[in-house]
Amino acid sequence: MTVNAARFLLPVLLGVAGMVVAEPVRLTPPDDLLKAGVLSPALPAPELELQGSDGKPLNLARFRGKVVLLAFGFSSCGEVCPITLATLAGARKKLGGDAADVQVVYVTVDPERDDAARMKKFLGSFDATFVGGVGSRAEIDVAQASYGITSARKDYPDGNYTIGHSSSIYLIDRAGRLRAVMPYGHSSDDFVHDLKILLRT
């Protein structure tokens, strides 16, 4: 009985031992894959027709030749927007000289409170090169709809209010094509990874 058991169990045990020491085979993604969600084929990014916090008309054509990081938010935001802007500012710092070819555009979802001066002050506390987008409620609604941005106002008893809004960041390449969308929560290193790819393509 012992001999029979050994005949059957020995190969099993050897197989187990082999699998224990075997290195798992992983499909490693190629280095040129973005960490953001990629749209394929890449189509021209919807154009913006707003006023910039720098006093100039704001449209994406202004930044052709640069990689644009486009996001939506508001200056009174206490949570998501400061984190997003700090992340983007951190990414630009890590890029060093390449940061000159990266433009952050932040469009308000709160046109009732955010004007050009207020957005300039708010964005400037993160990075002086950031440009804000402001306009009338109708103009902002058009910009939001073209990117599928949703926002919902929540009023407080004291008369104040906040706005819940889509928090992804849109990556637009040098040719003005909407290449990818980075969901909220990614690190500055993830942005640096993707920006380096977009800057060289």
Binding site: N4, M19, K35, G37, S40
Partner: protein, 143 residues
Amino acid sequence: MNRRLWILLAPVIGAALALLAWAAFAPIQSGSREQVFDIPQGTYARRRAGDLVEILPDRIRLTLGINDVLLIRNQDDVPQTFGPTIMMPGQSFRLPFERPASYQFVCTAHASGQLTIDVEAEPATPWARIHWRARHWWENRKK
């Protein structure tokens, strides 16, 4: 146990042990890390006609290191909103995940307008691999 019974049972026990050992220790491999979902042509039209057709499941489960990339292809004639973006007709959206969590997305391909994606950690222990394989087999047995 007499000798004849042992001779009959030994291969069965050996095969069961081998299967268990394979399930516990063999690395989980997949041909592609992409989990593909298509939004077929006519989805929007069917919805407008009152057909509550479900193209995508309400919940999608992904596993890091195995199938951790969601690929949605819009083959419909109209734009579809998925999560943070609008997919134009003929466009696809490839979204990789790197962290285990439950993600909520707006999705116009759903009657409910909402899609949940559960991203699980890679099964790293023998028991986790057995559990993953058993569940994977159970969920795919009718496909």
